[in-house]
């Protein structure tokens, strides 16, 4: 709970639902006749609406990217480290928009919404949505807000994939594409981890083929396990070591724990939680399972698996970028093994092949994939400088 709002926070914020009655034809061919998008916005839109930035969220994110909903909130929005007055995405300069994507569970239409045709929760009947579908709905939101062109579309991880889709499919509607810790498509290993997560959910006896809400329950164990596996892939070995593997000298020799960071200081010689890292993962999984919908988790991982904009261009991503005319910034992190720097470099190379304007940074960081959410000094400094340039261009264009 914040006793007082930090000076560099956007402060107390409110979400707003936008209803759309225009049917949305999805990549799968299915049609969503109507839908809601839950949106948050920070900062002021300028007179000619040229200072708007779209933030795209990742797997478990939502529209609440910054600030607090009430003074009772234990935590700020998911990208509080980068969005706020005087932060990298400076809300004194930019009008920052973030939405919960379709299929989400934080207010936009998704599996937990009521299907108007049946009067019941959509549950497993909610259609599979792709990155392309999300971006299509984001364009509809943009039109509703009266914004002609985003000054930048920004996202990390799965959010970065939405950024790439924007640059490919709607080139006239963004000036800058900032893709952080992204990938051109998933690797077999990435998909494998997603499949383990999905399988753990669908094999939970409380899953009821996705109709758990109708039964008044939810697949808690499966969702916990899915999150635990996911969480391991977001951290690096060194990040975990730093968090849980204290050096031998930090321990009393008679404890015989030798740097293994035992929870109670001694081994249980049973199958209980012995190590700090175990209780940490249990805690993370537990908290997540109470706040996130299992069907949404399945949908989000599928959207990740399906993302590959090169499929429409004979597998050549550089051709996909042919019409893009925004500037690109890509950032990767050295210890990210989910989407390692090589994956970002693949995108960079295809952008260069397509003769696009690109800036690329490889940040030395121990925190793994999660690094993009953390205030790593070099990352924040470069990110801030790039956005400051964008703002200068907006100001000079206006005069």
């Amino acid at each position: 709970m914040p006793e007082s709002i930090p000076i560099d926070s956007v402060g107390l914020v409110e979400s707003q639902a936008y209803h759309f009655d225009d049917p949305l034809t999805l990549r799968s061919g299915k049609v969503l006749p109507a839908f809601d998008l839950m949106v948050e916005a920070y900062g002021e839109l300028n007179a000619n609406k040229s200072n708007a930035i779209l933030i795209c969220h990742a797997l478990s994110g939502d529209h609440h990217a910054a600030g607090y909903h009430s003074m009772d909130d234990s935590k700020a929005g998911w990208w509080e480290s980068c969005i706020g007055p005087d932060k990298a995405i400076d809300t004194r300069r930019f009008y920052v928009v973030c939405l919960n994507n379709l299929g989400g569970c934080a207010g936009s239409t998704g599996p937990t919404s009521i299907n108007p045709q049946t009067g019941k929760h959509y549950g497993p009947d909610f259609p599979v949505v792709t990155v392309r579908d999300w971006v299509k709905s984001q364009v509809m939101l943009m039109d509703r807000l009266g914004i002609e062109k985003w000054a930048a579309v920004i996202g990390g991880s799965l959010g970065g994939m939405q950024v790439l889709r924007w640059a490919i499919s709607y080139p006239a509607r963004l000036a800058n594409a900032i893709c952080i810790a992204g990938a051109p498509k998933l690797s077999a290993q990435n998909i494998a981890f997603n499949e383990v997560a999905r399988h753990s959910i669908t094999s939970d006896p409380n899953f009821h083929e996705g109709n758990y809400l109708e039964k008044g329950t939810y697949p808690k164990q499966g969702l916990m396990l899915a999150r635990m596996v996911g969480h391991i892939t977001y951290l690096s070995d060194s990040a975990m070591r730093a968090k849980f593997g204290k050096s031998v000298t930090d321990f009393e020799s008679d404890q015989a724990s030798f740097g293994r960071d035992l929870r109670t200081g001694k081994l249980s010689f049973g199958f209980n939680v012995d190590f700090q890292v175990e209780s940490y993962l249990h805690y993370q999984g537990e908290r997540f399972s109470e706040n996130f919908d299992a069907n949404t988790y399945l949908l989000m991982t599928k959207a990740l698996d399906y993302f590959d904009p090169s499929v429409d261009f004979d597998g050549d991503l550089s051709k996909a970028f042919a019409d893009s005319n925004c500037k690109f910034m890509l950032i990767s992190f050295s210890s990210d093994w989910r989407f390692p720097p090589e994956r970002s470099r693949e995108i960079v190379n295809d952008l260069l092949k397509a003769d696009k304007e690109v800036t690329y940074l490889e940040i030395e960081a121990d925190q793994g994939h999660d690094a993009f959410l953390l205030p790593i000094p070099r990352y924040i400094k470069a990110f801030s400088a790039y956005l400051k340039r964008i703002h200068q261009e907006i100001v000079s264009d206006a005069t």
């Binding site: 960079v348 070099r378 790039y386």
Partner: protein, 200 residues
Amino acid sequence: MRPDLEIIQKWITPGSRVMDLGCGDGGLLHYLKTSKGVREIGLEIDEANIQHCIENGVNVIEQNLDQGLSNFQSGGFDTVLLTQTLQALSNPDTLIDDMLRVGRNGIVTFPNFGNWKSRLYLAIKGRMPISKFIPHQWYNTPNIHFCTVKDFDQLCVQKNIKVLTRTVVDSQHQGSWYMRAWPNFLGEIAIYHITRGESA
């Protein structure tokens, strides 16, 4: 502006595509972008320099030149620049091949180790030359592959590289008739405008 840059900017066609290998703070590219409308890309490894490039609004890719340019297409650029960086590369010869593959022409500048001051320093003191221009000790210098004008000429012959222009200047970037007459002895900075020879 650094004196070698003053000379080489004359060889850049307005509106062309220019890549600068080891672009530093992006100063040259920024100048070429604003004065000649080139489409620029800089390659750099130093964090502080990369930050300056971003602040200067210059496109920069974090990339180690010692890993080559295999991620760039052949003929993707009009001019590829390599200014005061040659001597710090692990494999300067292969990078020059690569730069002439990626660019239609290349501009290379380097401190001429054949200059009389270096020769005299080594001859009299018997120690590795240190100057205001090259201030490092032998053990901490980033400059691991010094060469002379004569050495570079030789490399161009070996590799069938055509020298379009060769000029040498002093550290104030002044040229003179006597430097042109004895470039390897009097020139402090060598500046080459090169392209791939007709037939390999």
